[in-house]
Symmetry: C2
Subunit: 304 residues, 2 copies
Amino acid sequence: MTAWIACDWGTSNLRLWALDADGRVLAERTSDKGMGRLAPDGYEPALLDLATQFLPADVCPFTVPVPVIVCGMAGARQGWREAPYLPVPCVPSGAGAVRVATRDPRLEVHILPGLSQTDPADVMRGEETQIAGLLHGDPGFDGVLCLPGTHSKWVRAAGGRVLHFGTVMTGELFALLSEHSVLRHTVGGGEDPAAFDAAVTAALADPAGWMTRLFPLRAEALLGDLSPATAGARLSGGLIGAELAAMRATWQGQQVALIGADRLSDLYARALTGQGVPVTRHDARALTLAGLKAAHAALGKVAA
Amino acid sequence: MTAWIACDWGTSNLRLWALDADGRVLAERTSDKGMGRLAPDGYEPALLDLATQFLPADVCPFTVPVPVIVCGMAGARQGWREAPYLPVPCVPSGAGAVRVATRDPRLEVHILPGLSQTDPADVMRGEETQIAGLLHGDPGFDGVLCLPGTHSKWVRAAGGRVLHFGTVMTGELFALLSEHSVLRHTVGGGEDPAAFDAAVTAALADPAGWMTRLFPLRAEALLGDLSPATAGARLSGGLIGAELAAMRATWQGQQVALIGADRLSDLYARALTGQGVPVTRHDARALTLAGLKAAHAALGKVAA
């Protein structure tokens, strides 16, 4: 029987898990009703679309609502309801959750806050729950987390707390350059690990020169026979290398917990281990669920 | 009476000048029939649209065709007819022009080549004519030219020759980030010279950190009250500063001839003079015409 529901509500997708009182996953559901497609009054129906089968069938005066713990963009200002950011340093689990009123009395929705930082200004929303999942499972963690993506996050954590973080728009820059700039004619899919490694090395050796290494991809394709795969590997290696150069003070001499099991994270693992950095790999989905469980426990919603 | 026609045929626009035998401009015409809108068989009609009134009204067996000297993207592979790149180092005027056959016997069209470089791979098409214009007017020039734009060009020239050049996609990066990235919500028009100067200084002081200074613009707007004008000034200052950092070996200790009279070039002049670099300003349109005149002369088409 469903004791509570965990929700990861991002910009593009909604993912929920129905859990029993012992924290076992009974079912997992996803839909494409992400924040980007919803007005505020669309969230409750989108949630019910996936959750109805896990709620009591009948509503009576004694119906006990099912707790729903939500992380992610549903808590943005333009989301379901704003869950204000929690400033770092802080423990990223459960504190600051916002209760959202619902028309359906079977729901008791709590949205978790994101994290904010003043200097330099930065924010995250969703990733804090993955971080909470990792810190909950490894309370003695003292090191750096890297969450590669459209907006990569680099996080310094110790003692169960997030101390400091930084966002780098590497994935968005790659998408803009490879799909919308003059390089779109030149950059394609495929793999070229040697070209990737060389580009990472060049970016780390001469981070100031990053801008001079973009247009030559186009020129070399015009003048010679640069393959789309090699051009793509050079572009991604150059950008990931530039990201590593920018974040060097954060990772140097640290262990890095890399959250992500996809091809992008493989590239980060390759680049970091190439710099002699010890890397551990973690599954983002599993950590999100672990973080939602930690928040559920912290909110006092543990089963009696 | 029109002795020849000079054409600057870019991606977006076509500009032509009718000149007399003494090189005086009789008329100037523009249209939006740039390379981006034309198939190969569309060039001659587009040229005739603007040029007909400067050509002999009647065609007879003794009609002498009017030379038309074209620079720019009309000579690209996907243009009217490819005018292969001239490799540097070279004198950028007239050599390598390609004769294009026309249906109209009143036209004698020559397309000027762009310039190419092998290491690092680079190309230009159109800018070489502005450079030729400057070098023709100042044969003793020994220094650096900077042509800011979507793809900024930095050129080392001496002895009337282009020795080396580099392309930096600064303008395209600014457009992508300010119009298509998450920063589009944050970055707007308007001026903030102090924020621009500070961003240039920060970029030059810490070029490796450029990537870390993008997302904080968004975060500061979310958390505080960063104005769109200040965010825009920081973004453009950060990118131009990063460009200067990347090209430092090219401009340091040199005089820089800045080609461009628009607001963008004002920003480059401000950034360069802030670094103690002596800057001279030059009008791009006037230099293009001067370069086309130099090419016309070199092609042996000077008036008898």
